[in-house]
């Protein structure tokens, strides 16, 4: 599976949304499905899926689907 698909999978599994909802409009929002609780699950799942350890500062960086790709890029995960 491509890295992009693996990333999409993490989002659909944790946020329980359909694949077509995982796009550049998908953003963190304290009140929606992507809330602070799911954010922490998301981070853990990203770490498991891509075998990386995400730096505390980067946890606050990942606030959209696009930013997730940028941050993972720092850990040599290419999209």
């Amino acid at each position: 599976m491509s890295n992009l698909n693996r990333l999409k999978n993490v989002f659909t599994t944790i946020l329980e949304i359909e694949e077509d909802q995982v796009n550049e409009d998908l953003k963190y929002d304290g009140n929606s499905v992507w809330d602070s609780i799911n954010h922490m699950f998301l981070i853990t799942e990203l770490e498991n899926e891509f075998s990386v350890e995400i730096d505390p500062d980067d946890i606050l960086e990942i606030k959209s689907f696009n930013q997730a790709q940028n941050v993972l890029g720092k850990y040599d995960i290419e999209f």
Binding site: E16, G30, S36, I37, M40
Partner: protein, 473 residues
Amino acid sequence: MSQHSFNPHNEFVKKISDNNKLNFVDASSDSKYNLSQLMFPVHSEFGESKQLGFIYVDSGIKSLAIYFSFLNSSHALVLLSDTLDSNLKQNLEKIYRPAFIYDNTRDSIGNYKDVTFDNGTLNARVFRTSENLDYTINPEVKILLSTSGTTGSPKLVKLSFENIQENALSISDYLPINGEDVTPLNLPLNYSYGLSVLHSNAIKGGTIVCGIPDILSKAFWTCFDKYGFTSIAGVPFIYEMLYRIGFLKKEYPSLEYISQAGGNLSKNIKEKFNSYCEKNTIEFYVMYGQTEATARISFVPPAKLNDKLTSIGKPIKKGHLRIDDKTEELLYSGPNVFGGYAESITDLNHWESIDWLKTGDIAYTDTDGFYYIKGRLKRIVKVFGNRVNLDEIERYLKLELSTAIIACTGIDDKFILVAYTEIDMNTDLLKRRLFETFKIQGSAVKFMYIETFPMTKNEKVDYKEIATIYKSK
């Protein structure tokens, strides 16, 4: 601007208005207010005869202004989250028929007309009914809170002015609250712990900061430095989150104390925060309480935390704890014990005098008189600070799926485990239903297939064994 008049018969409001250090900052607009500037003339519109109002709060200054304005009135208030699903809102409104509603998320509400208050500094819109309401509300009933927070259950905890005042006094007796404080309202006001932070700081504190960004955003930390927050209040999940985002690797010169309540924080995280606090001369208050006790029941003095790491501490001032001889249930008595539950409008006319509050927790004490929780009488778990009754969920799922072979249990107050014996269980559907009905995040629910349920000697499902099987996987 005209000086607002505070109700002289209301001792609690008088205590707040007498606190001349008290002021408010709205971080979202960086504006400062004193208490008078928050007060709307709600008497003129809603009169003195006691009515019920719903206040759907967010974290902003207007919610705070509306809350204080109606606190200073003769009316009873139900505090709810404005993020509550609109169907759940309508259902609650049908059951309680509030005379007025504050909700910034809706432009209109059925039979309600809107009234706008303007005090020269702020304005806010309140909906009022055109219906003639014939119910009576007991003079004691002032604030009503939900115990679950997100599910929209009509079961509300009835609190009096005395309850909230006494609890605020007891809390400000042990927390180092003073007029120089800068306190962020980072917990929702419809949650008893969040409301207790507001109340205890309103009578003894200094600057109260509302409208703050989400704790998981960089803006929160910018805000932290800018205003120099002197405390943080958090439920276990917030501490886990703070730990994960590297809170303990940095220094916060303004921070004087942190408090934790709303469930059991895991021992290793507690230890880490405790040693960080000891090193940085920050006081760490681990506390215990329930909405039925307005908020607070007991706390561990920070100096004792190292020795009493898993304890819930000792009772707050004017409070008493004891353990039932037969059931080992922890019982609490004090001026902050509630006046019973309300499930509908007719319950508002009653105020029950409760001598000993049954906490539902099973406890023991050590030789120094510190209390410890060792379990729960009812099958209740706390998931992200919200109370979840497992029997209720199990009943619901069985009904929904027309199956008897399902069992719910809690795993370390973190997850709800749904065990099932049917191979082709549609777990996605289950998750969706749990979210729709109970607002439980899917990530807080785990599923496990087992061939047959383990049973206890008296032929009941052995939930403990199910949890053990799950953990050993």
